[in-house]
Point group: C2
Chain length 112, copies 2
DNA sequence: TTTTTATACATAAGAATCTTAGGTATATTT
DNA sequence: AAATATACCTAAGATTCTTATGTATAAAAA
């Protein structure tokens, strides 16, 4: 992760759930590539952060996994559960509120 | 802190430096009130997070303190150092970049 | 063809940052 | 008189991350 890693804390699960919401199913390594692609290389998700986060989301019933094979190589695909679909809506709303609040303190440009 | 506490993580020092940048000098308790006021009560800074953060910022040379008395009660006022003034500019730029990146993933409304 | 890089999963030690809980003291409001 | 607000502080524990490491297959480069 880059110098914004401190800021990225707390958004990891929201990001994962949102990507799974938009892409139906994804595997871990794919998620790291997608985040890098969408942020022009600015955010590099570390696997040490991602995999435990995925395991926790699954333990909490927000996502489910299924193993698929690509040649001899295993991929563990994740998809949202019904609970996960509800949760991402809440998390996006929370994030919006947070940005509005922080905007009141930091006075950033509206384009941000 | 509220349910957005997870999101607020990592922004604490940015918020503190920005408030000191805008208000010249503030004391700890005043900072907690100001954050609450600016966020319509949504963000309640806990003292267990704030005071250690202030001490670290001072140890790092970004802020300096001076004790003043209000009646018999002590207030520890903080102000930015020259280094701190440079740092808050960097931190605001970092935060803007972060928001832009996260926006690419979460697809929030532009007004956010 | 050997080595490096990319893909793909995972865990564990340690660091950083926060919450929760407590402590001390003065001032004001109920 | 008691409760709340102001004002500082620390410490234990929880959470979440970084860094480092491990395993294995596939592809690219040397």
């Amino acid at each position: 992760m880059n110098d914004n890693s401190q800021l990225f804390k707390g958004t990891l699960t929201t990001v994962v759930l949102k990507l799974l919401n938009d892409n139906k199913k994804m595997y871990g390594y794919e998620i790291t590539r997608k985040v890098k692609e969408l942020t022009n290389g600015n955010i590099q998700l570390t696997e040490g952060a991602l995999y435990p986060a995925l395991h926790k989301l699954e333990a909490d019933g927000l996502i489910e996994s299924s193993i698929e094979l690509a040649g001899n190589r295993q991929r563990k695909y994740y998809h949202l559960t019904k609970t996960g679909k509800k949760e991402i809506k809440l998390k996006l709303a929370d994030f919006s509120s947070f940005i509005a609040d922080i905007q009141n303190i930091l006075n950033l440009k509206p384009s941000l």
